[in-house]
C-alpha cells in the first residue's frame, strides 16, 4: 500500500545509532525510541485486518522524532512501573495468546476515536497516534509504542502497545497491538464489555501541542460530510416535488391542491442542480398576502396557509440568495411588520419576524425561535434554514440571544446539530454539499 507522504516502513532508512538489532525466534516488534524506522524482515504493506498474522510478524516500527520525544515523556510518567519489566525497553516478543489486535476504522471524514478504554496512558498513546495520522504524517507507515501500565479496570498488564496506521479502501485504520501478561480468553471478554460500555466515552481528541505553530491543524482537509441516507432518492424526490409544486400552482385552482403545494414548497431545496426551475413565487406571495385583510389582520382559519406560504417564501428567497445576489433580487420578500402579530400563534409570529428582518437587502438575519414556545417541528425547519442562510456570502446577524440558548436547553438534538453546523461555517469551516440535504443532521 502506498504511503501518502512517501514514507513507508519498507522504505525507511535505519539509523545505526538509534535502532537496535533484534533477533527473535517469534515475530518481532521493534520500537526505535530515537524515532527512526527500522525495517526488520517484512514489507510493511500488508493490509489489515485480513492479514493480521503476517502484519504482526512484520516490522512494526516507529517514525516520527517529535512523537518519540512525547513518548519518552510518556515513559517517564510511568517510569516507576517500567523498571519492573525485565525486557529491553524498546522491543518485545510477540507470541500467540498474548497479543490482542484492536482495530479501529472510520471514514476519512468521520474522525471518531475511542479512547479511555484502558488507562489514561493508553488513551494518550491513541491520542498522539491519531494526531499524527490526522496531520498526514504517518499514513501507511508504522509506529510502535511501549507502555507499562496496570489498568485496574481490566486487571491485566498492558505491558506494550504497538500502533500502526493503514489507509485501507478509503478508511483509516488504526491498529493497536496490546500485549497482555495473562491468558487472553477472559481478557478478551472483558475488552468486549469495556468497548461496549465506553462506546461513547470520548470524541477524537484534538491536540494542542503545537498551537504556536499556526498551521498545526490542516485547514485544507476535507470538509464536514455527514452521511445522508438515500441521497439520490432525496435528490430525485426534490426534483419531482419542485416540478409538482410548479405545475399545481401554475395550473390548478383547487384550494386543497394549492394548500398542499404550498406546504411542499417550503421543504424543497430550490435552485440546485436537481430542481433548477423557477418556482411559482408570485403565486405563493399572493397566497400569503391573501391571508391578511387590508388592515393586515389575519383572516380567521388562515393561520396554516399564512404559515406555510410564509415559510415557502423564506425557503425560496434563501435558495435564491445561495445562487447569487442578482438571483435573489428576483424573489423579494414582501414587506411585513411583525408587531401586530405578537399575540398570534408563536410559529407564525416567528415566520413573520423572519420575513420582516430578511426583507431588505441587508445581510441575512437569524432570529432564533424559542425552544419552549415554538414547536419542535418549526424550530427544526428554521434551524435548517439558518444553516442555508449562513452559507450566503456574508455571515448573518444573530438575534434573540435567550431563544438561541433555549435550543440547547431543550436538548433537541437535531436543532443543536444544525446550530453547531451553523457555527462551524461561521468560523470558516467547510461543509460538503451533500450534508445540507439532511434536515436532521444529528
Amino acid at each position: 500500500m502506498a504511503s501518502r507522504n512517501g514514507r513507508s516502513g519498507s522504505s525507511s532508512k535505519s539509523s545505526p545509532s538509534c535502532s537496535r538489532s533484534l533477533s527473535f525466534s517469534s515475530p518481532v516488534v521493534c520500537h526505535d525510541i530515537c524515532g527512526q524506522s527500522t525495517p526488520l524482515s517484512h514489507s510493511s504493506s500488508h493490509p489489515l485486518p485480513s492479514s493480521a498474522s503476517s502484519s504482526i510478524s512484520g516490522s512494526w516500527l516507529l517514525g516520527h522524532p517529535r512523537t518519540s520525544v512525547r513518548f519518552k515523556h510518556q515513559l517517564r510518567r510511568v517510569s516507576g512501573v517500567s523498571e519492573t519489566v525485565q525486557q529491553p525497553e524498546n522491543c518485545w516478543r510477540v507470541s500467540p495468546n498474548n497479543v490482542i489486535l484492536l482495530v479501529y476504522t472510520a471514514g476519512r471524514n468521520t474522525p471518531r476515536f475511542l479512547t479511555s478504554l484502558y488507562s489514561p496512558s493508553v488513551a494518550s498513546l491513541i491520542y498522539d497516534a491519531w494526531m499524527d495520522a490526522w496531520r498526514g504524517l504517518l499514513f501507511a507507515s508504522r509506529r510502535a509504542y511501549d507502555i507499562i501500565r496496570h489498568p485496574s479496570s481490566l486487571k491485566i498488564l498492558l505491558s506494550h502497545v504497538v500502533s500502526g496506521f493503514r489507509d485501507m479502501t478509503g478508511h483509516q485504520v488504526i491498529i493497536l497491538l496490546l500485549r497482555t501478561d495473562r491468558a487472553i480468553g477472559h481478557t478478551k471478554q472483558r475488552l468486549v464489555q469495556v468497548i461496549r460500555r465506553f462506546r461513547r466515552t470520548l470524541l477524537l481528541p484534538i491536540t494542542t501541542a503545537d498551537v504556536h505553530n499556526a498551521s498545526c491543524i490542516p485547514l485544507n482537509g476535507p470538509g464536514l460530510r455527514l452521511p445522508v441516507r438515500n441521497l439520490e432518492i432525496l435528490r430525485e424526490r426534490n426534483a419531482d416535488n419542485a416540478r409538482c409544486v410548479c405545475w399545481v400552482l401554475w395550473t390548478i385552482t383547487d384550494p386543497e391542491a394549492i394548500d398542499s403545494a404550498i406546504r411542499l414548497a417550503g421543504t424543497i431545496r430550490w435552485f440546485n442542480d436537481t430542481s433548477d426551475r423557477n418556482p411559482p413565487y408570485e403565486a405563493i406571495v399572493s397566497t400569503f398576502e391573501s391571508c391578511f385583510d387590508a388592515t393586515k389582520q389575519l383572516y380567521p382559519d388562515m393561520r396554516d396557509l399564512a404559515y406555510f406560504s410564509g415559510r415557502a417564501i423564506l425557503q425560496i428567497n434563501t435558495g435564491a440568495k445561495l445562487k447569487s445576489r442578482d438571483h435573489a433580487s428576483r424573489y423579494p420578500i414582501p414587506a411585513v411588520s411583525s408587531n401586530r402579530y405578537e399575540h398570534t400563534d408563536p410559529d407564525l409570529h416567528h415566520i413573520i419576524r423572519m420575513l420582516e428582518c430578511n426583507s431588505g437587502p441587508d445581510r441575512p438575519t437569524i432570529d432564533f425561535p424559542t425552544g419552549g414556545t415554538n414547536t419542535p417541528a418549526h424550530s427544526l425547519r428554521m434551524s435548517n434554514l439558518f444553516v442555508d442562510l449562513t452559507r450566503v456570502g456574508q455571515n448573518p446577524a444573530l438575534k434573540s440571544y435567550e431563544s438561541y440558548l433555549s435550543a440547547a436547553t431543550t436538548d433537541h438534538q437535531a436543532i443543536i446539530a444544525n446550530t453547531l453546523v451553523m457555527w462551524y461555517m461561521f468560523l470558516g469551516g467547510h461543509v460538503e454539499d451533500e450534508t445540507f440535504w439532511a434536515t436532521d443532521k444529528s
Partner: protein, 363 residues
C-alpha cells in the same frame, strides 16, 4: 435519531481468530469534532475571538451534553491558555480602564462608564453584532488566517473565553454528577488555566477549574491545590457553596501529597474550609485525613477546634485502616504536656476505634 455510521472494532487474538463488534458513531459527534478543530484554529489565530463566547455559552446551556464534551472543552482551555502565554506583558491589562476599552472595542455603540462596568460583558446586547463582526473569518476562501481584519486580541478576550469554556465543560462535571473519570491530560503547560481561573472574582469559575482536577481523577502536581487556595483565601472569608463542595471533594482525593509538600498551609486550608464531616463523600476517609494532618509537624498545634471536634464523633469504619505509629505517641505526649485534656481525650477515643487494633503498631 439521525443517521449513524458504522465503524468497526475488531479484536483479534492469534489463537482463536477474529471477531468484530459493530460500533456506532453519530453525526453529532462528527460535527462536534470538526467544530472543535475549527474553533481551536480561531483561538490560535486570535482574530475575532469575541463571538466565540456565544458558541461556548451554547455549549454551557446544553444540559444533556455528550459525556465526551468535557474532554474536548478541556482541549479548548489548553489552547486558550497557550494563546495567553504568547501574549506579551503589555498585552495583559489589569486596570479597569483597560477592560472598559476592551468592551468598547466590541462595537458598543455607546461608551460605557466605569460605574456601569461589570467584569463580564453583556452578552445579550452584543449578540446581534456577531454576524457583522466575523465576516472576515469566513469570507476569505483560502484561509481565515490570511484576512486583513485588525485583531482586537487582548488577554481579556482569552480570559472571558476561558471562563466560558470552563463553564461549558465543567459546570456539570463536578461533584454530584455521575460521570466517569476522563483523561484530560493535565500537564505543567496548563498552569495558565489555573492562573487565569483563580484570578477570577467568580467562585463558580474557580469551582469549574477545580472540577478539572476532579474529572481527571485528582491528578495534579503536589502542592498545587493548597498553593492556589491559600492565595485565594487571603482576600476572602468564605467560598461559594459549589466551590466549597468542589474543593472539599478535591482535597479528599489529593490530601496526602498536599500534606507532604506543605503541611502547615494544608492545615490552615483545612481550618478555613470548615468542612462538615457529614457532607463529605466518605467521612471515614476525612477522619483519616485529619489524623494525618495532626500527625504532621505542625498539625497538632495548628488544626482548628472545628476539625478536632470532627474527630469526636462516630464515623464509619471505611477507609480508616491506619497503623498506630510512633508519631501518635508524640502527639499524645505533647497534648498531655500542654494539658489539652479535651483534645487528648479525642485522640485517645479515636484510637479506641476497633479498626486500629487490627493493624500492628508500626515501629
Amino acid at each position: 435519531m439521525g443517521h449513524r455510521q458504522i465503524v468497526g472494532i475488531g479484536l483479534i487474538d492469534l489463537s482463536s481468530g477474529l471477531f468484530i463488534i459493530e460500533y456506532y458513531s453519530d453525526s453529532l459527534e462528527v460535527i462536534l469534532s470538526h467544530l472543535s478543530t475549527t474553533l481551536m484554529n480561531v483561538i490560535v489565530d486570535g482574530h475575532c475571538l469575541w463571538p466565540l463566547n456565544y458558541l461556548l455559552e451554547f455549549f454551557a446551556a446544553w444540559e444533556k451534553r455528550p459525556a465526551n464534551l468535557t474532554s474536548v472543552v478541556y482541549q479548548w482551555c489548553c489552547t486558550i491558555s497557550k494563546a495567553v502565554a504568547r501574549l506579551g506583558p503589555g498585552e495583559i491589562p489589569t486596570s479597569r480602564r483597560a477592560r472598559l476599552n476592551f468592551i468598547y472595542d466590541l462595537r458598543v455603540r455607546e461608551p460605557l462608564t466605569l460605574d456601569g462596568w461589570t467584569p463580564h460583558w453583556p452578552r445579550e446586547s452584543f449578540f446581534s453584532t456577531v454576524g457583522s463582526g466575523c465576516d472576515s473569518v469566513r469570507l476569505d476562501s483560502t484561509s481565515h488566517r490570511t484576512h486583513s481584519c485588525q485583531p482586537v486580541v487582548t488577554f481579556l478576550n482569552y480570559e472571558d473565553l476561558l471562563r466560558t469554556s470552563l463553564k461549558a465543560g465543567f459546570r456539570l462535571a463536578g461533584p454530584g454528577h455521575d460521570q466517569p473519570a476522563i483523561h484530560l491530560g493535565h500537564t505543567s503547560h496548563n498552569n495558565q488555566i489555573f492562573e487565569i481561573a483563580f484570578s477570577s472574582d467568580d467562585d463558580e469559575v474557580v469551582a469549574d477549574v477545580v472540577c478539572t482536577w476532579i474529572a481527571d481523577g485528582g491528578v495534579a502536581p503536589p502542592g498545587w491545590f493548597v498553593r492556589y487556595f491559600t492565595k485565594r483565601l487571603e482576600n476572602r472569608n468564605s467560598f461559594s457553596r459549589r466551590l466549597q463542595w468542589a474543593s472539599t471533594c478535591c482535597i479528599e482525593r489529593i490530601w496526602r501529597s498536599e500534606l507532604e509538600v506543605s503541611a502547615l498551609e494544608t492545615v490552615h486550608l483545612l481550618n478555613r474550609l470548615k468542612v462538615n464531616v457529614d457532607h463529605v463523600t466518605d467521612n471515614g476517609k476525612w477522619v483519616r485525613l485529619l489524623i494525618f494532618a495532626i500527625r504532621s509537624t505542625t498539625g497538632r498545634e495548628s488544626l482548628s477546634s472545628h476539625n478536632w471536634r470532627s474527630l469526636d464523633r462516630p464515623t464509619s469504619d471505611s477507609g480508616l485502616y491506619e497503623r498506630f505509629v510512633s508519631r501518635d505517641v508524640e502527639v499524645m505526649k505533647s497534648l498531655e504536656e500542654a494539658q489539652d485534656w479535651g483534645r487528648l481525650e479525642v485522640w485517645m477515643v479515636l484510637y479506641s476505634v476497633p479498626v486500629f487494633h487490627k493493624a500492628p503498631m508500626e515501629t
